[in-house]
Every structure is written in C-alpha cells, then in structure tokens.
C-alpha cells in the first residue's frame, strides 16, 4: 500500500467536501462539508507522516483536530446565535456583509 | 536666573511659536463647551501671545542664512531630526500666519453651528501650529509632517462649519491636496535614500540635502513629485478647481487662512525645496511652469470676471494672483523672485482682507451674489470703504502693497522672460476689470432689494480685525524695504544653486 493511495482518498474526500460546501445552502451541512475537508487534510498529514517516518505530521494532525473541535464549538454557537436572530439556516439569507 | 530663563526661551523661540498654539488647543479643548466668551478669550490670548512672540523672528539674520536654529534628534536611524530655523523668506510668512489667527477669531461670531465653537477654535490653533511649523522646518521630513498637519484642521473647518455643499468642498480639498502630497512623499524618500547612497549616512536636513548632486533625470522625477504637491497647493491652472469650491464653502476664518497662508505653502515649497534642492530640474521645468502660471493669471482673471458670487470671484482672483507669484519665482531673476516673495505676502494680506470683508458682508444677509447688494457705499460706508481700499490693493494700485510685488515681478521677469512678463502684465488690466465691476455692483448704484438697504456698517470687531491688514497694505506699499532688506539676501541664498543667474 503506498502513500499515494491515501493521497487520492484524501483528495476525493476534500473535493467532495468542497463541492458540498459550494452546493449546499444549509449552513449545518456546509459546516459538515468543512469537517470533511479537514479530515481529508488530516489524512494527508498522517499519510505523509508515516511515509517520511516522522512523528511531526501526526502531531500536527492532532493539533488540527483540536482546532477543528474549537472551530466546531464556536461555529455552531454562531449558527445558533444567527438562528435566533433569523430563524433560517439558509446560507442565501446570510447577506449582511453585502458592500 | 532670569537671564538664564530668557536665553532658554530665546534659543527655542521657534519651538515656542510652533507649539504654543498646540498648547492653546489643548487648553481650549479642556474648557467647558458652553462658555463662548472664555473659549474665545483663551484662544485670543494664546494667538495674540504667539503673535507677539512671532514678532521676535523679525530679527532674522539679514545676511540670508538661517536664524534661531534648533535641532534635536528625532529618528536618528534615518537621519531625521527635529530641525527648526528661519530666514528672510519664511519670516514674513510666519508672522502673517500668526497674525491671521486672531483675525479669524474675530469672525467666529456668525458660525454656522455656534455650539461647536470649541472645535472651531481648537482647529484654528492646530492650523497655526501646522502653518508655523512648515515655514520653520529645516528638516525635510519635519516639513512634510507639518505640511500634512495643516490639512486636517482645515478639512474639518470646511467640513464642519462650511456652507451648503461643505462636505463636497472639504472632500475635494482633501483629495486634491492628499493626492499631491503622496508623490511628494515618494520624492522625499528618494532624496533621503540617494543621500544615503552618496554620503553613506542618513540625513533629512535640507541643508545637507543641498550638498547632494543628483543627475538631471533623477532631479526631473523628484521635482515632478514636489511640483505636483506644490502646484496643487498654489494652485496652478489645471489643478485649481478645488480652490473656488473650498473658498465658497469654507467659513470666513477658513477662507482667510486658506488664502492668506495655505496657498503660500505651495510657492514656499518651490522656493525652499524645489529650486535649491533640484536646480537643474527647476530650470528644465521653468518654461512649462511659466506657461501654466501665465495661463493661471489670465484664465483666473477671466474666471473671476465671469463669477456672480463674491467669494468665488475672490477665489478665482487668488488663482490669478498666485500665478503672478509663480511667474516671478520661475523667472529666476533676483528682482522677480524678491517680488514674488513680497507678492506672496501681499496676496495673503489683500485676499485675506477681501475674504474678511466678503465674509462680513455675507454674514449680514447670508447672500454672496454680486447683484444681491448694491449701494453698499451708501448703506454701509465703512464696509464699502474697506472693500474699495482692499480691492485697490489687490489690483496693484501704486502706493498700496500689491503694486510693489507686481511691479518687481514684471520688471524682473522682463529681464529673463520678456514674453511672459508682458503676458503677465495683462493680468494687471484684467484685475482692474473684475475687481472694479465687483466694487461697482456691490458698493455703487442703489440697493437692489429692501434687505440690502438695511445692513449694519462695519462693527468695532471687524474694524479691529481689518486694521492690521490695512496698516500692512499701506506700510508695504510705501515702505516695502523693511521686508525687502530681509527677503533679498535669503532669496539670493536660495537661488545660489542655480548658479548662472545675474
């Protein structure tokens, strides 16, 4: 089994995540797609880490997971706050930043 | 003890003049908003004190060098210092700047928004610091800092206290001048950098930078940056359109400062930086600048003639008068440049006084149209008399200040640039046309409306504000020597870099 296979899986995962983020309008699902992308990246890191025989990649993946956890906590809180303001999770309604 | 203190003040007189208004601004800012008398009184005390102090710089070294020099490290790693000094060129302008501020205070009784008198006065004092600082700075970066510092208070003076279209005018003013100063900053940085290249050490002192010789193409670029900034300030022909708007919208005090001092920053920049630092480029640019200046003289006069608005007329006449100064400056003749220096001052006095009077007339009826009045000489003879004398000074009637400057410019310019001198002289004729028709329409004839029949004559405050300008008009007109003696050597020193002039 070569590292390349892992990369391919990661690429596919990442692309699906990106596509989901672009295609879906539900904020939660978009958020999940972001998690998918993060996982893909982590997979890359870990695969590369084992291919170079270094622990650093795996360590970084761990930090990345921690960041993801923090991000999910804050992100979901924001979604809740937003939902309270306007009961919708449709990203199309999020246009407050229009210039 | 006392003498020691004395000398301490003496050696820091320029710092004192520069920063006393800033201190004043702080004090005024701390005073309660409601006490108009206290606010005005404090500002007046500070500005008058500063005026008195500024008179000491009249004792400037008559041999043309820098006097009252001060220097302190500021940003030593880049050779930037806090350097002040003054010579015969800057001396009259410093005094004028200090004189104008108390006069402006006299115009604050009719602010658009009286509740914000405090801001007005604070900005006024800030302006004074900026103006004095520019004229005293001997360090290029310090010059730039003060140059920019003048921008902000005036922006607010116009934007907060101006007429109906004040925001537009203030914005236009700001954008124009800011657009000019950015290329200037690039030029300044280039100068500093090339000094470092050639001398191995950083220095931003103007005196040091004069020792550096750039190649002509380099000079052309650097001068271009300076010229743009200064030409906008002057303002020269195609870049003048901010001026009428700013003047028309500005409150009286803003107009006076703008006319009396701000426009001089441009011409002062040319004589202080442009010509001595970049002599070849100045010579190379002389013809185009002269052409623009002469266009400014004639075009500005025609513009003024076409105006039906008092303030706009005076503003356009500024374009023409500053054109005179530019012609004199770039004729590179010693007499012409002396005349130009004097004319800078004259323009400040005459046009400042014109704005003072026009503002006074405007505040009586909130109208500025030339045809809204009529018969002012009958209704308000004092005001009309002041207006007529000032107009005469502005059109260069011999015996009043305007003539001396104009004549020296034309006579001097004729030696080096006869064609431009003759064309400039046309401005004398056109000046008479637009000024006199202004006087006729405003002062003579019968009042054009019922309201125009009942105007208060010149008030004691206005008299007091006008008096120093009036005295200067006659004084400079009849005895300009007291200034020319100081200006002359300084001009010679500034023109030294050109080398070849007579």
């Amino acid at each position: 089994m070569s590292v390349f296979h892992y990369y391919v899986v990661a690429a596919i995962l990442f692309s699906i995540g990106a596509g989901g983020f672009l295609l879906r309008r539900n904020l939660l699902v978009m958020f999940m797609s972001v998690e998918l992308m993060l996982n893909a990246a982590n997979l890359c890191l870990v695969a590369a880490s084992s291919s170079f025989d270094l622990a650093r990649g795996s360590s970084f993946a761990l930090v990345s997971i921690a960041v993801a956890a923090a991000e999910v906590g804050v992100g979901l809180a924001i979604i809740i706050a937003w939902f309270r303001l306007r009961p919708s999770v449709d990203a199309g309604d999020l246009q407050e930043l229009r210039g | 003890m006392a003498s020691k203190k004395e000398s301490c003040v003496g050696s820091h007189i320029l710092s004192l003049i520069t920063f006393l208004p800033l201190l004043g601004a702080l004090v005024v800012a701390l005073l309660p908003r409601g006490g108009h008398a206290a606010l005005r009184g404090a500002t007046l005390v500070f500005s008058l004190a500063n005026l008195l102090l500024s008179l000491t710089v009249f004792g400037v070294d008559p041999s043309g060098g820098m006097s009252f020099k001060e220097s302190a490290e500021w940003i030593p790693t880049l050779g930037i210092s806090y350097g002040l000094g003054i010579d015969g060129i800057a001396m009259p302008l410093v005094i004028l700047a200090c004189l104008v501020v108390p006069i402006c205070i006299a115009t604050t009784h009719h602010l658009r928004d009286p509740s914000r008198l405090k801001e007005y006065l604070v900005f006024l004092l800030l302006m004074e610091t900026g103006m004095v600082g520019v004229f005293c700075a001997t360090d290029l970066v310090l010059f730039y800092v003060f140059f920019e510092l003048t921008l902000v208070p005036l922006y607010f003076l116009i934007g907060m206290f101006g007429g109906e279209k004040r925001i537009y005018a203030a914005f236009k003013f700001f954008l124009f001048t800011a657009a000019g100063s950015l290329p200037m900053l690039v030029s300044i940085l280039y100068l500093l950098w090339s000094y470092k290249q050639s001398h191995g050490a950083w220095s931003a002192s103007i005196a040091d930078l004069r020792t550096m010789s750039l190649t002509t193409p380099e000079q052309m670029w650097v001068f271009g940056g300076f010229a743009l900034a200064f030409a906008i300030k002057v303002p020269m022909f195609p870049l003048h359109t901010w001026l009428p708007d700013a003047h028309v919208q500005a409150p009286t005090g803003g107009s006076i400062i703008l006319a009396a001092v701000m426009l001089k920053l441009g011409t002062y920049g040319f004589i202080r930086l442009g010509i001595p630092l970049l002599p070849q480029a100045a010579q190379a640019y002389a013809t185009p600048l002269l052409v623009l200046a002469v266009i400014g003289v004639i075009y500005g006069s025609y513009l003024a003639w076409a105006q039906d608005d008092l303030k706009k007329l005076v503003a356009c006449s500024s374009v023409a008068h500053m054109g005179f100064v530019m012609v004199g400056l770039f004729a590179f003749d010693k007499d012409a440049v002396r005349g130009a220096m004097l004319q800078m001052l004259n323009h400040g006095i005459s046009t400042g006084a014109l704005f003072l009077l026009v503002g006074a007339i405007y505040e009586r009826r909130h109208r500025r149209g030339l045809d809204d009045f009529g018969g002012l000489a009958r209704v308000a003879p004092g005001l009309a008399l002041a207006l007529i004398i000032t107009s005469m000074s502005s059109i260069g009637l011999p015996g009043l200040n305007g003539f001396v400057g104009e004549f020296m410019i034309i006579a001097g310019t004729f030696k080096t640039q006869p064609l431009f001198a003759v064309l400039t002289a046309l401005g004398v004729l056109l000046g008479a046309i637009y000024m006199l028709q202004m006087v006729r329409r405003v002062c003579y004839g019968k009042p054009k409306s019922e309201e125009a029949k009942h105007l208060t004559d010149i008030t004691p405050t206005e008299k007091l504000a006008f008096a120093p300008l009036l005295i200067l008009m006659f004084w400079i007109g009849l005895k300009p020597d007291f200034l020319l003696d100081k200006i002359g050597p300084a001009v010679d020193a500034a023109l030294l870099a050109l080398g070849t002039t007579p």
Partner: protein, 651 residues
C-alpha cells in the same frame, strides 16, 4: 528748496488724512478751508520755488521705496523747468477750482468726501509731475486715475455714473499697461528707472541704442499717454467722465490729469526725438484725434459733452505738436488750454448750477441777462478756445499750426487738417455759446432732468423747490475763479509770443528740458515774420469765420437741431460715430463672452475632468462593491478557485 518740494507734495496728502479722519466731526467750512489750503500752500511754495529756482534741477528725497538686487526706487521728487511749469498749473488752477467747488458742492452731503478726493487728486498729480523716477511717476499716474475713478463715480447712487468711472479706470489701465511695458523695457536696457538718468543715458547713447528698442519704448509710453490723455483709440472714457461733478471735469478732465500724457511725452522727449516712427505715430494720432473729436463736438447737445470732445480735440493738438517736434508749443498749449478749458467748464458748471442740473444746451438759451459774469467769462473762454486773437488759445494754437504748416511732408498735411479742426472748433464753440446765452429762453419747461443726461445729483441738491423760471448768478466763490481764469485766458498768450515779438518766456525757460531732444532733431525751424504772419492770418480768418457762422446760425435758437436727427452725417455725429457701440461689439462683448466661456470651460471641462476622474473611481468602486455581495457561496467559490490556482502555481 528741498523743504519746499516736500511741502508741495506732502501738503495735499496731509490734508487727505485730516479730512478722512475727521470726516464726521468737521463742519463744511472747516473742510473747505483745509481742502483749499492744502492746494494753496503747495501753490505758494511752488511760486516761492519758482523764484528761488536757478535753472539747476533740485531733488528732494523722502525715503527709500523699493529695493531689489538692481532695482532701487527712492521716494524722491525732482523739480526742474518742466515739472515746475506743470506744478504751477496744477496747483494754481487746482486752487481756483477748489475755491469754486466750495460754492458748487455747497449743498452736497458728501462735501467732505469730495474735498478728500480732490486733495488726493492734487497730491497724486504732484507725485506724477514731480516724481523723479518712472515708478513714482507711475504712482501718481495711477493715483490720479484712481481719483478720477472715484470722482466720476462721485454720485454713485446712479449706476451709470459708477459705470462711467469704471470705464475710465479700465480704459486708463489699458494705457497703463503700455506705460508698464515701457518701464520694464527701460529698466532692462538702462538698469535704472530714474528719469533724469534714463534721459541722460539715452542722450549719451543716442548713436548706439537699438532703434527698435527706442521705438518700442516710445510707442509703449505713447500707449499710456493715449489712455490718460484720451487719444484715439482710447478716448471714449473722457466724454463719459462728464458724469462727475463739474469742477472735477474742469480740474481733472480738462486742465490737469489729461495733460499727464503730454507731460510724459515731454519728459521722455529724447526717446521720441530718437524715433521718427514713434514721433510720426504721435503726430498722426494726435491730429486724427483732434479732427475726429471736433466732428463729434459739432452736434453734441450736452454742454459738458461739447466741452469734453473739445478737450479731446485740443489734446490731439498737443500731441500733434509733440509729434512734429514742437515741444514747447505743445507745452504752451497745455497751459493756455488749462486756463480757458477750466474757465469754460467752470462756466458751464455755473450754468448747470443755475439751471438745477440741466445740461442740455437745447434747453437753455437767453441766459445772458441772468448770469452776467458767467456770460462774460464764458465768452472769453470761447474766444480763447476758438483761437481768436489776442486770447491765449490763439497764440498757442497758432504756434502748433505754424510749426506744422511750415515743415515738409506729412506734418504739413497734418497742419492742414489742424486748420480744418480749428475751423470746426470755432464753429462748435460759438454754437454752444449762442445756444446757451442767446436766443429765446428754452429752460424751465418740459421734463426736468432729461433722460439723455446724467440725472445725477438731485439727491444732494435741494433745489427742487426753487422757481425754475429765474436762474440766478452763482455765488462769489464760484464767480471769483471764473474771473481769475478769464484774466488768465486773456493774458496767457503772453507767455510765449510769436518769434518776431522776441518774447518767448516759456520757450526760454523750457529750453534745457528739450535741449537733448533738439540735439537729436536739430534746432527748431525758424520761420520768417511773413510766414508767421501768414499762418496767423489764415488761422485767424478760419477761427473768426467759424465762430461767426456758429454764432449767427444758433443765436436765435437751435432750429432744426432741437430735434434728434435720424439719418445721414448728423445722425452719425450726434451718436458719436457709434464708437462706443462698435467697441462694445468688437472688444467688450468678446472679452465678456470670453470670460463667460472661461467660466463655462472651468465648470465643465476642468472641473468636469476632476469630477470625471472622481466619478470613474467611484464607479470602479461600485463595480468592486458588486463582488462584495455578502453571499457566502460566492466567497467560497472565489476562495476555492484561488486555492486551486495557488496549488497549480506552487506545486
């Protein structure tokens, strides 16, 4: 001597300051005393100086004025033969007119202001005459222009008066431009503006100076003279200047200020002598002006306008004299003209005063019996103006015509035109005289203050209630100057009698002034007695004939001329050849249009460009703003595209 000169110059200015500062406190009588005294003192000083004068010019320096690297102009005054002559005329006649004004302006509420201006004028005029540098001369030159402006517009409640003042100032400024150019030319060439030095240098370098330069200087000077002395094509302001009070017309617009041009040419005569071209131009312009103005004078109805055009015409004579090198004759005519023209104007003022500001000669007539003194003095003035022996005008005019007629070529032709002008002058002078003082009484009925005339002044002159039917003689303050001037108009010719009389006081006196010029030109041509007598006879016959014809035709009344003519030459003459209208269309209109064009151009193009750039930035901002649509997906899309691009580039 220096003290005298300083007093001469400063006295009027001191008075101006006094009158101005105390304008509210001073009673009219005190103001009158100060005002008249401020001219009497210089006059007496001048007389004293005249007797002390030993032929060498004296310079009195007050202080330094301007300093440059080369330019040095002191405030210094120089008394020599020429300036002494002029100073005597200015202060002498000025004093008489001041006295006259006391009566004439008595009821005007702006009495003090009037005397302030008048004194300012005398001071400026003295500066002009005595100034030892061209710049100082220019100071006086502009100063008198300012006073002229202020005095023409003295009754500024009428917009028309103010407009006339403005016109005078602006037209004069055109001339001043010429003066200014002459000054800078002189300064560039000689490096100084001291008149004596410049003249001396020019005389010394006569052979080496570039003729083009000399001609340029002379012509530029002459442009200035055209403005100030109302010559073609810049004469149009002078008739309009009659909007001012009549003493002003007498003092400024007849006797003194308008002769400043003659003074300048006489002062700088060396340049004109060195440039035949310039001299010819001066002579031709002078002659043309004389003839042209005389034709207009033939059909004017306004008493002051007739006199105004005759002034323009007589000034033309003077320039003719200067142009053909008869400098002394020109100066002589200035003096005699000052006497009789001031007399005529003051007489006219007396008439106008008596008729409550009626100026239309068609509405006068038969005033002989009401105004005996005015009548007699006016008659003397008319005789002098018409050039009838032995009155002053005869001698001076004859000198000019004689000099012209007995030269060769063009000047001779100009002399012939001069004769025609003399004929016309005599005609219109006596036409006016007859219309005013003879024939039936035509005043007192019809509308008061005809629309044609400056319907000024009623504001201050509370005469409205008086009975119009009975004009009365003016007070002594007004008739006294008339009488003095009448005496001068009779005797003035004695200053410079024809050569055969061997009495040419003026000529001898002025000799040192014109010596350099004559050194270049060659001594003035001596005429034989027969030649002189011949010229005198011809001009006398023409003058008497013109006068007789003018008098006889109008002694019964205006006849057909009472009506405005509508066609032909009379129509053109009555409307002054439409010169003002032509100028308005050809010069003023286009200039004004240009100014509006400039205003338009500035708003639309220059400012438009600026606002256009601002607009472009703004719309660019608008476009960029569109991208900032707040939609998460757009951002995400762009972000991912960017990431993809970076990935491609980096890997």
């Amino acid at each position: 001597m220096e003290g005298l000169i300083q007093t001469i110059v400063l006295a009027p200015f001191v008075s101006v300051a006094l009158l101005f500062l105390l304008r509210r406190q001073l009673p009219k009588s005190a103001a009158a005393v100060i005002g008249c005294g401020a001219v009497l003192v210089p006059f007496l000083c001048t007389v004293a100086a005249f007797f002390q004068f030993d032929g060498t010019p004296v310079t009195a320096t007050l202080t330094q004025w301007m300093t440059g690297s080369v330019l040095n102009v002191p405030l210094a005054f120089r008394l020599d033969q020429l300036s002494l002559t002029w100073t005597l005329v200015v202060t002498g006649i000025g004093f008489l007119i001041h006295v006259y004004s006391v009566g004439y302006m008595h009821e005007d509420p702006s009495f003090v202001r009037f005397f302030t201006y008048l004194n300012l004028f005398v001071g400026s005029m003295l500066c002009l005459v005595l100034g030892d540098s061209m710049v100082l001369l220019f100071l006086g030159w502009e100063g008198v222009g300012l006073c002229s402006y202020l005095l023409i517009g003295f009754w500024f409640d009428e917009e028309e008066n103010a407009k006339a003042g403005q016109k005078a100032f602006v037209v004069n400024r055109i001339g001043d431009l010429g003066f200014l150019v002459a000054m800078v030319l002189v300064f560039k060439q000689f490096g100084t503006l001291n008149i004596a030095d410049v003249n001396a240098m020019a005389a010394a370098q006569a052979a080496t100076l570039d003729p083009t330069l000399v001609t340029s200087i002379a012509l530029a000077l002459f442009v200035g003279c055209c403005g100030k002395s109302a010559q073609l094509p810049l004469y149009t302001w002078l008739p309009d200047a009659m909007a001012g009070p009549t003493p002003v017309s007498a003092l400024i617009h007849a006797a003194t200020m308008v002769t400043a041009g003659i003074y300048l040419v006489a002062r700088m005569s060396i340049f004109f002598a060195m440039s035949p071209t310039a001299s010819t131009v001066v002579a031709v312009v002078g002659c043309a002006t004389a003839l042209f103005a005389a034709t207009i004078g033939l059909r004017q109805r306004d008493i002051k306008k007739v006199l105004a055009y005759s002034t323009v015409s007589q000034l033309g004579y003077m320039f003719l004299a200067l142009g053909i090198g008869a400098y002394t004759a020109g100066v002589f005519h200035v003096i005699t003209h000052a006497f009789f023209k001031a007399l005529l104007f003051l007489g006219a003022g007396s008439v106008i005063h008596a008729l409550h500001h009626e100026q239309d000669a068609m509405r006068m007539g038969g005033l002989k019996k009401y105004l005996p003194i005015t009548h007699k003095t006016f008659l003397i003035g008319s005789l002098a103006l018409a050039g009838i022996a032995p009155f002053a005008g005869f001698f001076s005019k004859d000198k000019i015509l004689g000099a012209a007629l007995y030269s060769h070529g063009l000047p001779q032709l100009l002399g012939v035109f001069g004769l025609i002008t003399a004929l016309m002058t005599a005609f219109y002078t006596f036409r006016l005289y007859a219309l005013v003082f003879h024939g039936e009484e035509r005043f007192g009925h019809g509308a008061h203050g005809h629309a044609d005339h400056g319907a000024h002044a009623d504001a201050g002159h509370g005469h409205g209630a008086h009975d119009h039917a009975k004009p009365h003689e003016s007070p002594l303050t007004m008739t006294f100057p008339l009488m003095v001037l009448a005496v001068l108009a009779v005797l003035g010719g004695a200053l410079s009698l024809p050569h055969f009389a061997h009495f040419d006081m003026l000529g001898k006196f002025l000799e040192p002034i014109f010596a350099p010029a004559y050194a270049v030109l060659g001594a003035p041509h001596e005429h034989s007695v027969a030649q002189e007598l011949g010229a005198m006879l011809v001009s006398l016959v023409l003058a008497v004939g013109g006068a007789w014809y003018g008098f006889s035709k109008f002694s019964e009344g205006p006849g057909k001329q009472a009506e405005h003519s509508t066609k032909g030459l009379p129509f053109l003459l009555e409307n002054k050849w439409f010169v003002d209208e032509i100028y308005n269309v050809l010069v003023v209109g286009p200039m004004r249009a240009l100014s509006h064009l400039a205003g338009f151009f500035d708003r639309l193009v220059v400012d438009g460009l600026v606002n256009g750039v601002a607009g472009m930035v703004r719309s660019a901002g608008g476009w960029i703003r569109m991208m900032q649509n707040g939609a998460l997906h757009t951002y995400a899309l762009l972000f991912i595209l960017g990431a993809a691009y970076l990935a491609i580039v980096l890997l």
